[in-house]
Symmetry: C2
Subunit: 364 residues, 2 copies
C-alpha cells in the first residue's frame, strides 16, 4: 500500500484508530481481571486476526464466534480456544467440519434443544478431543435459548449423547437502551437466569461450571460470584449506538468510515460518498440518524442510501466545502465490518497497516 | 460445486431463481420497448456479470453503476457502455481511473455542481474519447441533484471545461410507498423536473438529449415524449419492499436466502440461521418485519440479529420442525447482494451455476 495518510485514502474506507482500539481492549481486560471474570471476546464485531491477537495478548481466554465458518478462519489463524455461541443444527457437512476443527482447537458449541444435542452427539462421536456443550438460556431477550428449568433436559440429553456439558450462556440483548436501569436489570436477569440454570443442572449431577454472559452494555455490572465469563464484542471498537446509550465516550470510538463531501445541493444539507453499502443500515431506537460525525456533532445523517449519506446541519452552521473529508462513525460496527474486505489500521492519521476482515461473510 | 440441489446448500446462502429473473428482465425490456424508452439497468442491485449480460441481451443500452469501482468491474467484464450515475468528486487517483476507463468504454458520469464539472474537465483532458456529463436534477427526493433552473450553470461550466453534456438524470426516491398515487406523482415530478432542466439547457444552446429517470416503482408510469431513458435496478430480483408496495407479485421474487430452523424455543416462535449479515438491515416503513417467508406468509420476522431471524407465527399455526429449511426474501435486495461473495443460480430447485458478485464492495 503506497498511501501513507488517512487523508489520502480513496473514500469510503473503514479505518481503525489503533491507539483507541488497544485502549478499549486493555480497559475491558483490566476490568474483567479485577472483577474475577474470564473474557472471551465475541469476534463477530471485528472478524479480524490482528484484533483477535490483541485481545488474546491482553488476557482473553479464547474467542467467541457465531458460526462454524468463523471458527474455521480463527482456527487457521492460530486461535486455539473457540466457542461457537450459537445453537448449531448439525447436518453431515457441518459435522465433518466440526470434527476437523476439534482436531486443532479446544471447541465449545451452543445448544438450546434436546434434538440438537442428540444430533451433535452422533456427529461428534470420534472427535479428537471432547467438544464441550454450553446450554443457551433466555434471560429476557427472547431470541434463542430456553428458560432456566428447561436446561436440565438438554443437559441430560447431552450427557446421554456422550457430550460434556461445560456450562450455560445467555445474551442480554434487552440490556441495550438509554436507561442505565435497563442495563442494570439486564445484568441482574443474566445472573438470575444463569444461576438458576446452573443450579438446576447441578441438582441432577451436571456440574456446568462456566456461567457465560454478554455483552458490551452489561459487562462489569454483575455482582461477583455468579457469572464468571463475559463475551463482549462491540467494546473493541464501540459505535454510535454505544455512544448514544452512554456505555462509551466519543474518545472511545475506534472505527470509522472516512468519506468525502460530494454534493452541497441546498443550504443546510450536504451529501457524503458513504452509504449503507459501507456503513450498514442498522438503526437502534436510541440513535439519532444513521451515523455520528465527530467533526459535526450537531449534524444529523438524516438518510442513508446505498452510496449516499444525506446530512442536515443545525441552522446557521455552514456546510463543509465540496471535497472535504470527514469521519463517520457507524451506528453498529458489526455490519460495516462484514461489508469490508479490509480495514485500514491508522495511528495519528498515518496508515500503519491494512488488516484483512478474514472472517467476512463466513456465515455458514 | 458438488451440491446439486438448493436443499443441500449450507445455510444461509443467497439463491437466484433464474426463471423468475429472466422473466423479470424480459418484462421490463418489453415494457420499455413498447413505451419507446431506452433501458439502462442499475447494476448496484445485482453487481453480477451474468445478470448484466442477460440485461444487455434483452436489449439494455448499457448499464448504470454508482461508483468508479463498479464501472471498472463491468468494463473488465466486457460491458462497453457505462453511466456512473453519481455526482463524482474527482481527485488525482480517481482522474487516472476515469481516463483508463474512457479508453475502453463509452462513459457517462453524473455531476451536480459547477466545481465538480470544472475538476472533471481538468481531469479528463486528454481522454481517449469524450466523457459525457449528465447533470443530476432533484425531482423531490432531496438527496443529491439541483433544482432544474440550476442545471444551466452546471451545463455551461461543463461546456467551458471542454466536456460534452449529454443529458439530465434524476432519482425519484420519494416514489417509494404504499400509495400508488405517490408513484404517479413521483413519475410526474420526474417528467416535470427533467423536462424543465432540459428546456433550460436548450435555451442556452446545450442540447442535452437524454432525459433519464428511475426506478422500479415509477418505471412505466411516464407519459411518452419527455423521459426517454429508464434506470431501474431492483426489478431484476424484486424484494419484500416491492411486494409490500405492490410493484410486483410473490411470483416475481427472484432472490432469496435459504435458511435453516435452528431453534424453536417457545410456542409461536422459531429462529432461522440467517440474520443481518446475510439479509442486510434495510427496513422501509412499508414492510412488516425483516423479510418475507413465502412458505409462511402469515409469519413475521420480528427481529434480525447478525445471525438470527426471530419469527413469530399467528396463533394456532404450528412452528416448523427443527432443521426445516425455508426461503427468506430480503426487504431490499441491494444490501444482501453486497454482503455475499457468490449467489447460487437455481432452476426448479436445482443448482445450475454459482455466480460471483463481481462488483461486491467496489465502493470507491
Amino acid at each position: 500500500m503506497s498511501t501513507r495518510l488517512v487523508e489520502e485514502l480513496a473514500t469510503p474506507a473503514l479505518v481503525v484508530d489503533v491507539d483507541v482500539l488497544e485502549r478499549n481492549i486493555t480497559r475491558m481486560s483490566a476490568a474483567a481481571r479485577s472483577g474475577g471474570f474470564t473474557v472471551r471476546p465475541h469476534a463477530k464485531a471485528h472478524k479480524c486476526l490482528e484484533i483477535a491477537r490483541r485481545q488474546l495478548d491482553a488476557g482473553a481466554a479464547g474467542l467467541t464466534v457465531a458460526t462454524v465458518g468463523e471458527a474455521e478462519v480463527f482456527a487457521r489463524g492460530g486461535v486455539s480456544d473457540l466457542f461457537i455461541a450459537y445453537p448449531l443444527w448439525v447436518d453431515d457437512a457441518k459435522a465433518r467440519r466440526l470434527l476437523r476443527l476439534a482436531e486443532s482447537v479446544a471447541l465449545r458449541v451452543g445448544a438450546d434443544s434436546v434434538e440438537s444435542v442428540q444430533r451433535l452427539g452422533r456427529a461428534l462421536r470420534g472427535a479428537a478431543r471432547p467438544v464441550q456443550v454450553m446450554v443457551e438460556i433466555d434471560c429476557g431477550h427472547h431470541r434463542t435459548g430456553v428458560v432456566p428449568e428447561n436446561a436440565v433436559a438438554i443437559g441430560q440429553a447431552a450427557v446421554d449423547a456422550g457430550l460434556e456439558v461445560t456450562g450455560v450462556f445467555t445474551f442480554p440483548g434487552h440490556g441495550y437502551g438509554h436507561d442505565p436501569q435497563a442495563r442494570e436489570r439486564a445484568a441482574r436477569d443474566e445472573e438470575q437466569a444463569l444461576g438458576d440454570a446452573a443450579d438446576a443442572l447441578r441438582a441432577v449431577g451436571i456440574a456446568a461450571p462456566v456461567l457465560s454472559g454478554g455483552s458490551t452494555p452489561t459487562a462489569g455490572r454483575w455482582r461477583p460470584g455468579v457469572v464468571n465469563e463475559l463475551r463482549p464484542g462491540v467494546y473493541a471498537f464501540n459505535d454510535a449506538t454505544q455512544l448514544a446509550i452512554g456505555t462509551c465516550t466519543a474518545g472511545d470510538l475506534a472505527l470509522y468510515a472516512i468519506a468525502t463531501v460530494v454534493s452541497t445541493p441546498a443550504a443546510g444539507r450536504f451529501v457524503l460518498d458513504v452509504g449503507s453499502k459501507a456503513l450498514g443500515s442498522d438503526r437502534s431506537p436510541w440513535v439519532r440518524g444513521h451515523g455520528y460525525l465527530p467533526a459535526f456533532p450537531g449534524a444529523v445523517v438524516v438518510s442513508l442510501s446505498e452510496h449516499h449519506a444525506t446530512v442536515t446541519l443545525p441552522e446557521g452552521l455552514p456546510a463543509p466545502r465540496l471535497g472535504a473529508r470527514m469521519a463517520v462513525v457507524p451506528n453498529h460496527v458489526c455490519t460495516p465490518v462484514n461489508l469490508a474486505d479490509t480495514m485500514v489500521a491508522a495511528q495519528n492519521g498515518k496508515v500503519i497497516d491494512c488488516w484483512s476482515v478474514a472472517a467476512r461473510g463466513a456465515n455458514t
